[in-house]
Symmetry: C2
Subunit: 213 residues, 2 copies
């Protein structure tokens, strides 16, 4: 089971590690972190860096391809024709192609989502679904939704008993103190705070000037 996880400067760490923690436990899992360059790749809040040990040129195939989202604007990623071509090629032969949060925007840029329903971080879209399945493309909502995504994929591949076992191994028995995790349930003030904060963070972390955006 070849699992390929795309990294790019500005990715959200938990978009990667939530699913990773489950997918890496699939039978015979071999996980490869791939980026444009072999080096530690900086996540959106700058401090956490995950090592990319492969370039896209070195990866020709994946059973599972995972594309994380980002808080920053990743215009450089979605304008990188070589990268988009690579994603499309890997997707063509994948078992499942997965995205977390705004990672679906990157998938969209490759053209493979044409005519398909998807989900994404609530900030980037209106359809509020935690997971959306379209044939072998599975997109998930923001950040922590990647954990639910990976459990779903684990069940698809290895069955319910396996997925339940993964849930227990990760003690995934969430007890958030509030019910503010999605815009439907959050108070208006919380929603406004989050929107303001996401906008400010994206601007603060911006790595290049976006003309006309």
């Amino acid at each position: 089971m070849n699992i390929v996880i795309l990294l790019y400067d500005g990715f959200t760490a938990l978009d990667v590690t939530g699913p990773y923690e489950i997918l890496t436990r699939l039978p015979n899992a071999h996980v490869q972190f791939v980026a444009r360059q072999k080096r530690p790749i900086e996540s959106d809040y700058k401090f956490l860096k995950i090592l990319a040990e492969y370039t896209i040129e070195e990866i020709k195939q994946a059973d599972l391809l995972l594309v994380p989202g980002a808080t920053v604007s990743f215009l450089d990623v979605i304008l990188d024709k070589k990268l988009l071509h690579w994603i499309k090629g890997i997707h063509e032969k994948s078992l499942y192609t997965l995205s977390v949060s705004s990672g679906s925007v990157i998938l969209a840029a490759t053209g493979i989502l044409e005519g398909k329903k998807i989900t994404s971080h609530w900030y980037t879209q209106r359809i509020q679904k935690r997971i959306v399945v379209e044939d072998k493309i599975i997109t998930s909502a923001g950040v922590t939704a990647g954990i639910d995504l990976a459990l779903f994929v684990a069940e698809k591949i290895c069955g319910t008993m396996f997925a339940k076992t993964m849930q227990l191994m990760l003690e995934y028995s969430p007890e958030p103190a509030y019910d503010s995790g999605n815009p439907k349930n959050a108070e208006e003030e919380v929603l406004q705070n989050a929107q303001k904060r996401l906008k400010e963070d994206a601007i603060r972390m911006r790595r290049f000037t976006m003309v006309g955006l």
Copy 2:
């Protein structure tokens, strides 16, 4: 707000990144990943490596200290007197000292938990609490419990509105398909599978021979 996260070979990735994703958004957060050596540190399932940019000698103070757990046996960590001494010293002046999963075993090895109630991954203990607060030491249960821990700490430091905003930013509105996330609720077969798997994984990933354990 100086946030120091300890890395060591064999740490569980999500124990680190779950809390990180919230703590890094605290006002003026400065997060430092520290280890015995400055290099990419390998997580328990080997594939994911996070870069440690500081050695313990370079870090003299932390407002928040976070110690993650591991699937592997970390006998080398809990026998590392210099490291334990460093943890104790940082803890003495910290605002909060935090552990996720079996990270509490490392805290215990320093002596700072003496006479205190703690929690840990369900596999390593019997008390089933998601978060346990003992003065400024806050321990959490396994892996994903680190997200609940960090939200709790965010509320302590910045108030309820801030914590709710973080919850929404991370779209932390979990929808696990089953209720198998803790040993109380999991079916007997799931519990046995998880125990078997955790034991096997720990043995498979063992980096050294444990005499008498």
